[in-house]
Subunit: 211 residues, 2 copies
């Protein structure tokens, strides 16, 4: 697919953020399935494991004390507290993947993205996914027929607060159709891989063709 | 194709540079044929029209005095003298195309790209096309069987001097295969169109979905 296949490059960190109801989880899954070079960053968390979850696949489930000592040792790229539980992105697996030329996908919110940006610098590429319309967002937030108007209104307020951060992202796509949105994400990834600054093998390549 | 079809955006200026022999002319033609939103910037020149050329399609053929007065009036985005002839990119048609949301393709060298960058700022996206190898470059520069080693050596030196400017570009692609290189250029274009900063209709779109 790529025309620069043999040139050594550094992997990139791809952040996909969106309010819930914009289809981000589906798009992440589709991207991982369609591109073997992309790996998902797995967070550590202190929240209890749910029955359908698997340690090391969905999260690294750790105790409060281990989480704290990792945080103190600076082992997280970003971390946050949500409803009394701690969540964090361990640094080491990400660094190793990037150095091996793999791209790492992050499914995090705007706060995590801001923290990540400080540590990642040029390695970071951020995409915000918007729902196509107000009605469609509401429809997707009404997950069950029996949801009360109150519950839906609260979810909507939370979604709107997340959406208000769209302007902090490098790219913005509207998810009208999952396949078109995936193709947009794949174009962004293909382009960012071709950035001169990311192709660390280019100097050597040019030396070879001009001598 | 795009998932952001209805959001108003500003066009971008796409520069494709390469040494002769790297396939840039073929790639430009393929891009223009495959994407109706891309228009080619047509240069003004004082050099005489060749029999196969058409005024307004290949160049705007103008006299020395008209060129000079355009240059003095600041009507060029960039201009240069090559072998006693003057070449320049008229500003007005480019500005009009960009405002209409069209993307403008420039087939110019590194010197023109530098001048353009000063005037275009964020509107500019630059791609450098490299040949796949030294041997392949030499093969493509040997256009006729009877070319003397001297002529080929001179063309090679010129190509190498152009290649030495690869690091001034945003993206670098290696043209191993024209279709793969075209697909890389199209990905870059698709991604750059999705940049938040270029989608000037996004604020309005977000206001609509969150109210």
């Amino acid at each position: 697919m790529s025309s620069n296949m043999e040139i050594k490059r550094r992997g990139l960190m791809l952040v996909l953020s969106s309010p819930s109801g914009a289809g981000k989880t589906t798009l992440s899954r589709m991207l991982l399935e369609s591109d073997a070079n992309v790996v998902l960053s797995i967070s550590a968390t202190t929240r209890p494991k749910r029955p359908n979850e698997q340690d090391g696949r969905d999260y690294f489930f750790v105790g409060q004390d281990i989480f704290e000592s990792m945080a103190k040792a600076g082992e997280f790229l970003e971390h946050a507290t949500v409803f009394d539980h701690r969540y964090g992105t361990p640094q080491k697996p990400v660094r190793e993947a990037l150095e091996a030329g793999r791209d790492v996908l992050f499914d995090i919110d705007w706060q995590g993205t801001q923290q990540l940006k400080e540590k990642a610098g040029e390695d970071l590429v951020s995409i915000f996914v918007l729902p196509p319309s107000h009605d469609e967002l509401e429809r997707r937030l009404k997950t069950r027929a029996q949801d009360s108007p109150d519950v839906v209104a609260r979810r909507m307020a939370k979604a709107e607060s997340e959406i208000s951060h769209w302007a902090e992202y490098d790219y913005v796509i509207v998810n009208r159709d999952a396949n078109a949105a995936l193709s947009a994400i794949r174009s962004i990834l293909a382009a960012e891989r071709l950035r001169r600054s990311r192709q660390i093998g280019l100097s050597e390549f040019v030396r070879n063709i001009t001598s």
